[in-house]
């Protein structure tokens, strides 16, 4: 084995980091890229099938009702406010605020899931009715899966912060979790446009 000669010292570097400086966040970005690609392709499938059909939605199906989705969408974007705040508090290593913010986000996430549950019966189509129904349900389920997993993750993590001694790396996790939520919020926008507005633009 080759001999070594020491030319520097790494022990003075900081021992934790937030956001892009932390490698965990790069993993989160990696998965956002994967999931983002799935969303784009699923959107492509929607438009492709739409292009094949003389009417959209195919007769006699009605477009999805707007009311529940409007409430959901407004509520979803509203959660960005506490979410951003939580991110800032976590980065400031503010334990009390971080715990409170996590509890709040868990409660809001649950509320959003309830609202989402009202959307499905108002899609006005079943997944096994025709290809239009299949692709609408696919888009909705893809996004809902993200809501559920993020909610579960936040809930578990919240419990952890109340039962353990929180270190800098966990503040960093809390911050990454906020960034992921932002992803879940913004990816809804194109899906919302496709599911609820594309059938109305003809």
């Amino acid at each position: 084995m080759i001999r070594t000669r020491v030319v520097g010292d790494l022990s003075t570097l900081p021992d934790h980091a937030f956001g892009l400086r932390s490698i965990l966040f790069w993993g989160v970005i990696g998965f956002m890229l994967v999931e983002g690609t799935v969303f784009v392709l699923a959107g492509g499938v929607y438009l492709y099938l739409r292009g094949l059909s003389p009417t959209w939605p195919p007769e006699p199906v009605l477009p999805p009702s707007l009311i529940y989705s409007a409430i959901f969408t407004l509520a979803l974007f509203a959660t960005e406010l506490p979410n951003r705040w939580l991110n800032r508090r976590a980065r400031a290593l503010d334990l009390r605020a971080t715990r409170a913010g996590l509890v709040l986000m868990t409660v809001l996430g649950l509320a959003l899931l309830l609202l989402r549950a009202f959307e499905f019966p108002h899609l006005n189509v079943r997944w096994d009715q025709n290809a239009y129904g299949s692709v609408v349900w696919m888009l909705m389920i893809l996004h809902t899966t993200h809501l559920i997993t993020d909610w579960a993750d936040t809930a578990v993590f919240t419990v952890w912060t109340f039962t353990h001694d929180v270190g800098p790396d966990q503040f960093s996790d809390a911050s990454d979790n906020c960034a992921y939520w932002t992803f879940v919020v913004w990816t809804w926008l194109p899906i919302y446009a496709l599911v609820y507005w594309a059938p109305r633009l003809t």
Binding site: W26, V34, D169
Partner: protein, 634 residues
């Protein structure tokens, strides 16, 4: 250079002992199941991929036996369909893509001077998922419910109407397993490369194999979601009554092909680009000089990566949809022409300008270049319009894609295996046996696949289980079968070579080839922690800079698992971070995912009930643990 005086040898030995304790695994089965050491996982991947390569090869031999003579009676038509499907699917999804990842998982952290891969638990999870997918396919095959729909499982053949039973679901779910694994690996590899390079290893100084893996991992991230999506849609059509591919209800069968080839076209490059990286590394070491035109090589790799996606579009719009599957491999080799031309030029220039030593790895490189040029020529042939129509769906296509896949990827892989085997195992493979292996496989390969071009020209279609006498196909088919058994003989010698080497004591030196990369700075095989101190890099060929000693940076903890994180471009040290300890959770999570995936073939409710154990396993996995000062979950 302002070098601090050398640490006393016993201080270094003490640090090494402490690191061995910190980074070591528990002994026995528990250690096996809980390890997160990238080298152990990668070795496991390597062994598994080669086992399935062998199994898929046996299927190829059975097919060749059947086709050796007209009116063969060895296999029924149904069995033949299963054989080419399982052979093709195994080769593509269970051998070729994962084997490249396996080599990368072993080497990339070492090449960039890191202690472990970026996400070690994810990496462990990926292996078990991959294994789950491989076993799903092969257990089903042995239970006589193996898929029989071809390796690309087109609808409507694979849909609920034409493929009742579970065969098509097995195929689709095998893909989900292996693609989840490949995506996990790719995210890990990208992060390792961009954030964990040794201080001073700027992007411009990064080894070409690492560049190749960076491009490949990004391609994987963008291409694989497509095939996961399309197979999920297929399963959903088959099991939940959706109509994505059902023409009667507004679906479309061609949609399947679009999504499949958006993945399938880049897939060939995902196999091929790592092989280019092998060739560069081998050429550099055995030409005894840095690769000529390093920057052009990098640009060519990136260009191939981009072209791979651009080309899918050309496929869809320029070639006409019905001929899609056939012209696929053809245009792959066409588009590859320019940047691969650059690569071949630079390798030849490197060999020319160097003092080449023709050890076995180098033979594979030459075999690769020769075969690749022939493959390129046939690619040009198929592209000419009149021949095009004539040759599609014939054995010409079979010949052509085996040239690309075996000549372009498997030859470099064998070279890489011979080259890095000392690093993997601490033993050098025999040169004599290596040469026998090379010549048998190289010549056997030409004998198998060259005549298939002629068969194609004479009109023999692919995927036929037999053929009548008197069409003039007999001599070519017999030659192909003899060739296939010659390849098999080479493969047997390969296995013998490996087994004999493993029975010798592990006595390989750290750098048996006097190679320039950081992976050769550590013992063969490397200790669990890879490097006692973090290398400090100031050149593309660090070990050729100063042959007496390696500049390093100290200061990482030895009593818990700590790594250094550097900046993406300049690789400047930024912060220290904890790296996860061994854990059983990735294994349990993979088990839970397996139950969910397999269950979902039989009932959609598995998606609901199966989610519960999975959620528990993931909670255990992500439950933060406080080890170092930061406390590192993953």
């Amino acid at each position: 250079m302002s070098a601090v005086p050398m640490p006393p040898a016993d201080a270094e030995a003490r640090a090494a002992a402490k690191l061995a304790e910190t980074w070591g695994d528990r002994p026995g089965v528990w250690g096996w199941l809980t390890t997160v050491d990238h080298k152990r996982i990668a070795r496991r991947y390597l062994v598994t991929t080669f086992v399935f390569f062998g199994l898929a090869g046996i299927l190829a031999l059975l097919m060749r036996l059947q086709l050796a003579r007209p009116e063969g009676r060895l296999l029924s038509p149904d069995r033949y369909n299963e054989l080419f499907t399982v052979h093709g699917s195994t080769m593509m999804f269970i051998f070729a893509v994962p084997v490249m990842e396996a080599v990368a998982l072993y080497l990339v952290p070492l090449m960039v001077g890191a202690r472990n891969i970026a996400f070690p638990r994810l990496n462990a999870y990926s292996y078990y998922m991959y294994l789950g997918g491989a076993l799903t396919l092969w257990v089903a095959f042995f239970l006589n419910i193996g898929p029989d729909i071809g390796w690309f499982g087109y609808t409507p053949l694979s849909g609920p109407e034409y493929s009742p039973g579970k065969r098509a679901d097995i195929w689709a779910q095998m893909i989900t397993f292996t693609e989840v694994a490949a995506l996990a690996v790719s995210v890990s590899i990208v992060t390792t490369i961009l954030r964990m390079r040794a201080p001073g290893m700027t992007l411009a100084r990064m080894p070409l194999f690492v560049w190749a893996m960076l491009v490949t991992a990004f391609m994987t991230i963008f291409a694989l979601p497509s095939v996961m999506l399309v197979t999920s849609m297929l399963i959903s059509d088959r099991l939940m009554g959706t109509h994505f591919f059902n023409y009667a209800e507004g679906g479309d069968v061609v949609l399947f092909q679009h999504l499949f080839w958006f993945f399938g076209h880049p897939e060939v490059y995902i196999i091929f680009i790592p092989a280019l990286g092998f060739v560069s590394a081998i050429t550099e070491t055995f030409a005894r000089r840095p690769v000529v035109g390093h920057t052009f090589m990098v640009l060519a790799l990136v260009a191939i990566g981009f072209l791979a996606f651009g080309l899918w579009v050309h496929h869809m719009f320029a070639t006409g949809l019905p001929k899609l599957g056939n012209s696929f491999y053809t245009s792959a080799s066409m588009a590859i022409a320019l940047p691969s031309g650059v690569q071949i030029f630079c390798w030849i220039a490197t060999i020319w300008a160097g003092r080449p030593i023709f050890k076995t790895p180098m033979l594979w490189v030459i075999g690769f270049i020769v075969t690749f040029v022939i493959g390129g020529l046939t690619g040009v042939m198929v592209a000419s319009a009149p021949l095009d129509l004539q040759l599609h769906d014939t054995y010409f296509v079979v010949a052509h894609f085996h040239y690309v896949l075996i000549g372009g990827a498997v030859f470099p892989l064998f070279g890489a295996f011979q080259y890095w085997f000392p690093k993997f195992t601490g033993r050098v493979l025999s040169e004599t046996l290596g040469r026998w292996q090379f010549w048998l496989i190289f010549l056997g390969f030409q004998l198998t696949f060259f005549p298939m071009h002629l068969l194609g020209l004479n009109g023999m279609p692919r995927r036929v289980y037999t053929y009548p006498a008197g069409l003039g196909w007999e001599p070519y088919n017999l030659a192909a079968t003899i060739g296939a058994f010659t390849i098999a003989a080479g493969a047997v010698i390969f296995v013998v070579n490996v087994v004999l080497a493993l029975r010798r004591p592990a006595d390989a030196p750290a750098n048996p080839w006097d190679a320039p990369g950081l992976e050769w700075a550590v013992a063969s095989p490397p200790p669990a922690y890879n490097f006692v101190d973090t290398p400090a890099v100031s050149s593309r060929t660090p070990l050729w800079e100063d042959r007496t000693s390696l500049p390093v940076m100290g200061g990482l903890a030895t009593d818990y698992r700590e790594i250094v994180v550097t900046s993406p471009v300049e690789a400047e040290p930024g912060n220290r971070q904890d790296s996860p300890d061994p854990t059983i959770w990735p294994f349990l999570a993979a088990l839970a995912t397996t139950v969910l995936f397999i269950g979902s073939i039989f009932s959609e409710w598995a998606l609901v009930w199966g989610a519960i154990p999975l959620a528990i396993a993931l909670t255990g996995w992500f439950w933060p643990k406080r080890t170092g000062p930061g406390g590192a979950p993953e």
